[in-house]
Symmetry: C2
Subunit: 493 residues, 2 copies
């Protein structure tokens, strides 16, 4: 059946939706949520069906297209589209196979990833795939095939230089913004390091959210290459536009249950690094009872898998196991962490953030063949080159290169949590700090979060500020204060 | 924030959707797919968010409501609604718990079912629950709690009579329309037997779809009680209106992957029988390599569970294991099966459908204390009382009580598959018959399906019709013919 296209300014936020008038739906024998195939020219796209009785929305003879489709097609208003019922794709049977505990082969995983990227799978079907991979686990081979499929079906950056350095942290530790210190140091040392990051899912800030305080982060591949050619580096969001890929969809589905399927984690990281054209990758696995990786055995197992997969994909990978028992730095939340980063690049601010970042920078330098790396890192910091390079990157991405920590605005509503007694800070809960910072509004509210005045091992007097909360509105601040009162965030003894 | 209600004539077919203008979404800090809570008077409802920029759709200060919400609220156009961000319900953590392989207790399962019914869970979250229960299996206790929760949170019919008979077939065998023969026989014998059925999910017809050929099937609880008071029986759709319950939602999510979580099956059946106020239930488990239950061991295990759960819920349950190696009856598809049923009620038509239905009717009579049941069944059939009772039920449900098999119209496009050689039919594939009948359009197209001229054991000449296909349009017929040619539907030797 031929129908006239009509754009509808609705976004489902996920599934692609086409709206039929009830009249045409009956003729086509299509029900709500059925799949329909739209053909125009030599292109085709599969969407799910909404049905309306309201001619003001969609008349008989028309098909309404939700604007999520604009990313996928440039169909014009009034254009003739051929619409027919679409069978479920064969990957649905493959998902069932995995659900039933059977291993998938290369072609099977590639088929699923292709259907995922082309939006041929519904949300329910994709969720079954995620839960099957979470519950049944993925074998190393399946992880390899998934990585290959994501790479094959996603956009890729190409740089003419070699080596290309990259780094990644498994995450789960609040305030751990080492990337934003490491990248300018490496770039200042002449190493190419194009960094793409996702936005934070479960933590109060990620590299992307924090960088957003200093400069725009959404660019086309061409723009990214220009920025890197100018400065040796970039710190951009990889979750949109041409680099967006199957694994972003998988991550989106993991979000509601805060799942973290190990196979996806590995594939996602490896695929992202390959998409960024990396040759040398340093991976940070923080270990702590309240971090993602709870103990050394889990960390070592993960390290082994990274090294094996690295060899399969010809990536030089080095993995460090780091301390994830308390947050890193003092600021938690995008704006508060951006301040710590700018200080660290001058050899100031939180000691732990400096030490960890400098050590990682040196290690990554050694990986790409730079000798006396520790000494060089010190020089680059003390000479101001690291800070200067950061300002170059900020400028190249369209930010203000005269930014200073003092100029970064924080959310206006504040509350101070004071030390109930004098003593030494013995414990600082990574989990509770994360939770309270998110209640304050981070990372959605970039200027919200909290500031930790004293870290584990430091001495504090009774009544001295321990934590300052920052929120954009009073009600969020009240929520955070209330929760903070009912939780054990720190321990002084 | 207070917003003015506006109805939008869109149906998502599932999730409840509220549409905000971008302007208000920013103020509320709400993104697409976020949950929002709508409060009006002392009622509240949680929906997911769509965001628009188009003031023609939804202006700042308004909230657009998809019409799926009409079932849940009578909010009027222009009514003030208070809208705020809603946290995820605590059942999300419980679903995660089940996903991680832990057993859920009574309160936990009740919480999930409550959130499911109140539409507080998104489709993705509900899918995680279904896949967790499918992959991790449900313990007998969990099944019991799920049944209790579904009963507690669903509508229920109340009859003043006792006993109340009911029957159920596990399904998976094409043409197995015994219900429509058993119910009028029992009703004619004076037994109350209010039968609610779901519409077919995976087969070419269910009792509801087939009954739809003869009479309307959607009624309020009050109407159902009236029909039963008049005729001792009803055959209505239980999947809508007041009897709709959590398990319909679960079944809907199972559909795309054709899953069949054993725990859901048990809970769903027990809960439906309890909702229909049943005291005596006969359950039919057909066994066959191409049926749902593949072998006797699986069948016996399932029978055990039914009997145990029956004792828990004080239901008298009897389970028969029946032959599921080939389809029952000759017609496959709603209209074709309705013809077989009307014939069987007069002691005519397919022998297998008659024999099985009469045996089941006698067994159910014995369960409720009627003696010489086999003889009584014969009398009820031969005297025409069964057929007369069926016509009464059809009339009470608003159908035509003068219907005859000849008056039932079939889909107009037909094709005959002939016997390639003479001999005896040795094999008739239940799976392929199901598949081809569905390709013909059944059960969505009520008049489509196929007619089997010869069953296993019968003799056929070369070139004699073996199967006749019926479809509403040529393209479906062609698809079915093509698939039929490429499959082994029967074997003659």
């Amino acid at each position: 059946m031929k129908l006239k296209a009509k754009w509808i300014d609705f976004s489902s936020g996920g599934p692609l939706v086409g709206v039929l008038h009830q009249h045409d739906a009956i003729t086509l024998n299509i029900r709500s949520l059925d799949r329909i195939k739209l053909c125009f020219g030599n292109k085709q796209i599969v969407v799910t069906t909404d049905i309306t009785h309201d001619k003001k929305q969609v008349k008989p003879g028309e098909i309404g297209l939700f604007k999520d489709l604009k990313k996928h097609t440039k169909v014009k208003k009034g254009q003739q589209i051929s619409v027919k019922y679409a069978k479920e794709p064969s990957s649905v049977d493959l998902i069932k196979k995995k659900l039933d505990g059977k291993e998938l082969n290369r072609e099977e995983i590639n088929k699923i990833v292709k259907d995922l990227i082309s939006n041929s799978l519904t949300e329910v079907e994709s969720t079954y795939f995620v839960s099957a991979c979470y519950m049944r686990k993925m074998s190393l081979n399946e992880t390899k095939y998934l990585t290959e499929a994501i790479i094959k079906n996603s956009g890729k950056l190409h740089f003419k230089k070699h080596p290309i350095a990259d780094k990644h942290c498994i995450g789960g530790v609040a305030g751990n913004r080492t990337t934003m210190v490491v990248v300018p140091i490496l770039a200042a040392a002449g190493v190419t390091i194009p960094k793409t990051s996702t936005k934070s899912i479960t933590s109060p800030a990620g590299t992307s959210n924090t960088m957003e305080i200093l400069a725009p982060i959404s660019f086309s591949n061409k723009e990214i290459i220009n920025i890197v050619n100018k400065t040796n580096a970039c710190m951009v969001w990889g979750g949109q536009g041409e680099l967006a890929s199957a694994d972003d969809k998988l991550i989106k589905i993991e979000r509601p249950l805060h799942l973290d399927a190990r196979g996806f984690l590995l594939s996602s990281i490896l695929a992202k690094k390959t998409a960024a054209d990396a040759s040398h990758v340093l991976i940070d696995i923080p270990i702590g009872p309240e971090a993602k990786i709870k103990n050394k055995a889990m960390a070592k197992d993960l390290r082994e898998k990274f090294l094996k997969l690295g060899r399969m994909f010809k990536l030089k990978i080095n993995v460090i196991l780091s301390d994830g028992t308390q947050p890193i730095g003092n600021g938690i939340g995008p704006a508060l962490e951006a301040r710590d980063v700018l200080l660290a690049l001058k050899g100031e601010g939180p000691k732990d953030l400096q030490e960890k970042s400098f050590a990682m920078a040196a290690l990554l330098m050694k990986m790409v063949g730079i000798s006396k790396a520790e000494k060089k890192v010190k020089q680059i910091i003390l000479s101001g080159l690291a800070h200067k390079k950061m300002m170059e990157i900020i400028k190249a991405q369209g930010g203000n290169p005269n930014i200073t920590p003092e100029k970064i605005k924080l959310a206006p509503h504040t509350s101070i949590i004071k030390a109930p007694k004098a003593g030494r800070v013995r414990y600082l809960s990574n989990r509770e700090i994360t939770r309270i910072a998110k209640l304050c509004g981070a990372p959605t509210h970039l200027k919200a979060g909290l500031y930790i005045h004293k870290k584990v091992g430091e001495i504090i007097s009774q009544g001295e500020p321990m934590i300052t909360l920052h929120a954009e509105d009073k009600s969020r601040l009240q929520d955070a204060i209330k929760e903070a009162k009912n939780s054990i965030i720190f321990n002084i003894a």
